[in-house]
Assembly symmetry: C2
Homo-oligomer: 417 residues x 2
């Protein structure tokens, strides 16, 4: 039986029906609903003959042994945020099941094919995203801190994991899973407006953005709004306002693909009768090119220092978080683009703003690529998240094409090696 | 015995010693400490022979009957904010006591002279400032609302007032107190940086600013900071930032005496990974000229509407509060300036940003003027509030000169009439 893309749509509806409610998807990792979703997935894969294993980090693997141990991985995550959408994460694994079925029907594949359902991509319960994939990638370095994390009900992370058969202390043993991996493929909804604005169903992801995230605090002097003449003020909000407008210019000068966001400002004392003494700004800058990202950060810092002189205020930069850009595999990007062009008229290359499990796998040195399918209105992490059914079907077809091409490439590389 | 300005400084220290603590002044109206301060004031005035009465709004009056019933009033307030300064309010009444002593020593004055200690200027406990003066001025119009007000401990305003002998329902009977008033004089610390920056001890106040106070809410669209290209954003914070910078230009174009303040911005969702959907800005605009104030408001509104077009966002203006400018008496302003020039080299005319009891009295039609004495670093409503002792002494001298000149003017106007 050939690929049945429509079945993926139907199965996604079925999953949403059985694990969601009127507020959206409820498949939060390390919960009973999540376990039911994993059980459901197990049932869907059963007919393919793929062997199920759960690794030390709780990742659920389905392995179709091939003529060679060299493995092509297809991955996703069935966990969701609370009140989430029906596609974020689940599309990847459910489409992967359909591809696995098609491959299994054709007999023993030339290379091993594995579907992986990563554990806790969203980090919704304990605030630690990419749990399973970072363990498998060997990049998880915060176990010490994770031991102390609690959920909203006060339950410690290690205790919750233990209930699902995972021992935090040995989670990094999941590293062995990537030993034979020659390629990693992931399909995801875009979660942004680019493909919709271009009227394209599918795009190839070039990699995940490098991120520089800072709290930028401007400090001036509180002063009475009525009795302090304009030229005697040291207004911290002026620094924040100028930076908010300047980061847009910085992104523009840096060119396409650069994004800078001031996501929030907290003003103190924050009352109508006082000039703002302190303005704490949350700044997020992203680029796929590490040098350009560093340049954007440098420009923002220099601008803020200019404001301290102009406005007689002070500024302090505190890094909240940063990550290097992670570039996907050039060869797989080309294969992905060919695959998309076989199922629809045109493709588009774009970076991923959000992080994905694919980024962890790529960091571990496995050649990786992602496909994005159009998101309606760019919405995700809400029950309003949606994608046209015909686009979902095209996405399953493109993933299937890409799997075929990748298997062939891995096979021939194996023969050559 | 002639005027002893040094005594005022000593008495202010004594008052602070007996009614303040290590955190500052604690003479919050409608408290036991405030009653003790009033009792202390009563003791200080006792020797002058002035007759004490407390009106229906709790204002404490000391009346030195003159040859004529036409009255010159000197006013202030002994109440403070919690952890307040030693001068805000108290300077006015304690200096007034010294002036009253000088006048009383000289025998029956040609016109009646009254010192008034207004009740609850600060509104610190119930959030209703200018209580006593607005009752006396007849401009108190919010009794209905005041009845429902509670302090932080849940005690209702009418109950607290009753404990201090004031019945909210008849507070407006205090109006009769202003019946014979021909002039009102008030000395206050500047609470701003203007006189200090001019290196002048004293200034004449032209009136109190008109105020337009609005919440300006910009609404855009929350969107992922990583996946939303710059040109697809509807960033509410951009509107807020542009308005923050534009109000400074509006004030500059309007000219000296104009002030515009964005005192706070609240951003929602306010997280580092999202473009700002809603930015709620607190805007305060002030001017002594009603037409210019209206013009500043209009300019800010038009600017914000331009931003809605440029940024594809929405804006909503909601008035929080407004008040017309209140101008002081031109004749008294001239007398005040002459008085200052008799005790020090130069004077300066300036508007008052903060409201004062004097504004209520002026609104009631009583010719009014205020003297400002320099504030160090413009600080008030904090224990750091301070003024040089030699400046306080000059202020007492200037108030005394002004009282003499005003009494003479009211006397001669009475003869002419």
């Amino acid at each position: 039986m050939p690929l049945q893309p429509r079945r993926t749509v139907d199965e996604l509806r079925e999953l949403q029906e059985s694990t969601g409610d009127e507020n959206g998807a409820q498949r939060v990792a390390w919960t009973e609903t999540w376990e039911r979703a994993r059980e459901w997935l197990r049932g869907k894969v059963a007919g393919t003959g793929a062997e199920e294993t759960v690794d030390a980090a709780g990742n659920q693997w389905f392995t179709l042994r091939g003529a060679s141990d060299r493995a092509v991985l297809i991955g996703g995550h069935i966990d969701s945020v609370p009140n989430g959408g029906w596609l974020d994460g689940a599309l990847n694994v459910v489409a992967g099941v359909e591809v696995l079925r098609r491959i299994a029907e054709e007999g023993k594949p030339p290379v091993t094919v594995r579907l992986v359902n990563w554990a806790d991509e969203e980090g919704a319960r304990f605030g630690r995203s990419l749990f399973g994939s970072s363990a498998a990638a060997g990049s998880m370095a915060d176990q010490e801190e994770l031991r102390a994390r609690k959920d909203a009900a006060g339950i410690a992370l290690p205790d919750a994991l233990r209930q699902h058969g995972v021992d935090l202390d040995s989670a990094l043993d999941a590293r062995s899973e990537l030993a034979g991996a020659s390629a990693y493929l992931e399909l995801h909804i875009e979660q942004g407006p680019v493909l919709e604005s271009l009227d394209l169903p599918l795009g190839v992801v070039l990699g995940t953005f490098g991120v520089e995230r800072h709290q930028v605090t401007f400090r001036g002097q509180a002063a009475h709004a009525g009795s302090t003449p304009m030229d005697k003020r040291r207004d911290a909000l002026a620094g924040a306002a100028r930076l908010e407008l300047e980061i847009r210019e910085i992104a523009k000068r840096t060119g396409a693909g650069a994004v800078c966001t001031m996501g929030g400002v907290v003003t103190k004392p924050g009352i109508v009768t006082s000039v703002v003494e302190t303005a704490e700004c949350l700044l997020d800058q992203r680029h796929l090119d590490a040098a350009k990202l560093a340049g954007m950060l440098d420009e923002a810092k220099r601008a803020s220092e200019q404001y301290t002189r102009d406005e007689d205020i002070e500024v302090e930069w505190e890094r909240i978080w940063n990550i290097e850009p992670i570039l996907f595999d050039e060869g797989l990007i080309e294969l992905a683009e060919e695959s998309i062009r076989e199922v629809t008229s045109d493709s588009h290359r774009l970076p991923s703003g959000p992080l994905h499990d694919a980024a962890e796998v790529a960091r571990a040195g496995v050649p990786t690529v992602m496909l994005f399918v159009q998101s309606l209105r760019g919405l995700s992490h809400t029950k309003l998240e949606d994608t046209r059914e015909e686009h979902l079907e095209l996405a399953v077809q493109a993933l299937d094409e890409l799997a075929s091409k990748t298997i062939e490439r891995v096979r021939s590389a194996g023969e050559a090696g």
